[in-house]
Symmetry: C2
Subunit: 322 residues, 2 copies
């Protein structure tokens, strides 16, 4: 089984590749190769039993996609995206990468005729507007960002290409991933990791929202496990809506900080500053948190047991020198 | 006020143009010109107080769209589409016209910077799948046809271009229009007009579904009134979801035929044959009929009073020699 991870240079693509290598199989079949494709050369993974190759791939270019998704590709993970604040500032970038990039990947599958399995990562940014709580898997998608709109269009493409038999495609709406390792990025949600990650690393970080701001989170470790599980669900079990809500936990900023204090003592929380940022508040204030994921839970996807557990995963998996 | 009707050669575009001409104003402003744009030269409307011009326009070509939507355009009606069975058989046609055509129109508005009002016609084909009844304006869109998927993507584009201030765009999901004048077309719903129109014209017609098949209908006359009303709703009244469900009535085939007998006597119903068509059943069997349109009703859109009234409109407005 050959697996291509588009967006394979990102932290999630790298973690997914390592988890797949460690596992050695997917859906009961031996993994024979993994290709990490990204817009800049992805970091490789050396010395693994499963060969891991890397490829520079521009998903806005169908010819480039054809190099990443070939007749030998059995499974495609599509993790590539221009994130929320970036897509909001640079509308054309978001359209090109989030909408047309997704379309190019699905079109390549259609042209191949090999019906590869495709796992598309959508986002809870598809929710919004005046849709009543709770948000369930049958709630209207009324995104209030271009990123969310582009992801929602990607979901419709995934369902239609699957229904037509062009790809065994399925999608999963990621909660906000926290604690995301590495550096802040252009996602409006970036602070939702920074305010924990930087203090745990002994550095200051700013929280641009109130401490009662409530949101829906998942750890990278559980996210990767869920991405693997999503590729293994049978077409019959997915039914006519091939998009699942990946389970997460709803927490206030205060609850997250209290969990950090429980796990790492009182010092990190003192490194948080509280400077409001109206741009960030404008974007994340429209996001939804009362999100239910019964169908995904029934299909074997999981949330973190607790946010404390989530913090311990960060310390074990990602804290520099940890 | 200058109005462009894309899809202006179709029966709905032509009826809308005549209704606008008869009215003379839209949203309290005098209509100074109407442009009918379509992929084949639309029929003109002669001798009107408001000048009506015609234009050949291929919405898959941005340069062609730029001729139809100009700096002088105040309102764009986008009625052009590849219909359901056509989009299902010829996937690329549907993508090009229904998805990229809509995108090209919105992109032209963005380039102009004049923020024209855009009225996009979506369809109840956006509903489907395992979403529970009743279908409300906050139900998930889980279309089971490519046509429906492309219309749902158009809705997301409309909302996002409006939110970004690129166009004062809004959309409305049309019920199945019956009785549609003229000839059968490639819509899977074509028979829902044929089985009434042809018998009322003294001709035979086939019904490919059972008489208890239930669906959601509106007359062309009410549809045109609702399209005019949709252009007049203020941005504030639309809120954060700029797509409305146009009100209709849910009826069985038997109820429609009984209404025809009530209005035109028993002869027409005897001209209906009952040959099943599995392809048509496969498409329309996934369509939804338990559809509620409270928000649109509150904003002044209307359903027909009865299906008898709908039949009388056909006889008054459209029956050849009638």
């Amino acid at each position: 089984m050959n697996i291509t991870i588009i967006g394979g240079g990102g932290f999630l693509g790298q973690k997914l590749a390592r988890a797949l290598v460690a596992r050695g199989t997917l859906d009961g079949r031996k993994i024979t190769g993994i290709t990490l494709a990204d817009v800049v050369d992805p970091a490789g993974i050396e010395g693994t039993a499963v060969p891991v190759s890397t490829l520079r791939c521009d998903i806005t270019d169908p010819a480039s996609v054809a190099q990443a998704v070939t007749p030998e590709t059995d499974v495609v993970y599509h993790l590539a995206a221009v994130v929320s604040a970036h897509a909001e500032e640079e509308f054309e970038d978001g359209m090109q990468i989030n909408l047309f990039g997704t379309l190019n990947i699905l079109e390549q599958c259609r042209k191949l005729g090999t019906v590869p399995r495709v796992v598309f990562t959508s986002s809870i940014a598809v929710y919004g507007g005046e849709v009543p709580d709770p948000i369930t898997e049958t709630s209207l998608l009324n995104p209030q960002t271009s990123y969310g709109a582009q992801k929602a269009m990607g979901e419709l493409l995934v369902n239609d290409y699957a229904r037509k038999g062009f790809a065994d495609a399925r999608g999963v709406r990621l909660p906000t991933i926290s604690i995301r390792p590495g550096k802040p990025n252009r996602a409006a949600s970036s602070f939702m990791s920074s305010i924990l990650r930087e203090p745990l690393n002994g550095q200051a970080a700013n929280c641009p929202v109130e401490e009662d701001f409530r949101h829906y989170y998942l750890s990278p470790r559980k996210c990767v496990e869920n991405l693997i599980r999503t590729a293994e669900i049978s077409a019959g079990d997915l039914g006519r809506n091939r998009i699942l809500q990946m389970p997460g936990r709803t927490l206030t900023i205060r609850q997250m900080i209290d969990a950090m204090t429980a796990v790492a003592g009182p010092a990190p929380a003192r490194l948080i500053t509280w400077q409001p940022d109206e741009t960030v508040r404008g974007i994340v204030g429209g996001w939804r948190f009362d999100i239910h994921a019964e169908r995904a839970l029934a299909l074997g996807l999981e949330a973190d047991e607790s946010f404390e557990e989530n913090l311990r995963y960060y310390i074990e998996d990602d804290r520099p020198g940890g």
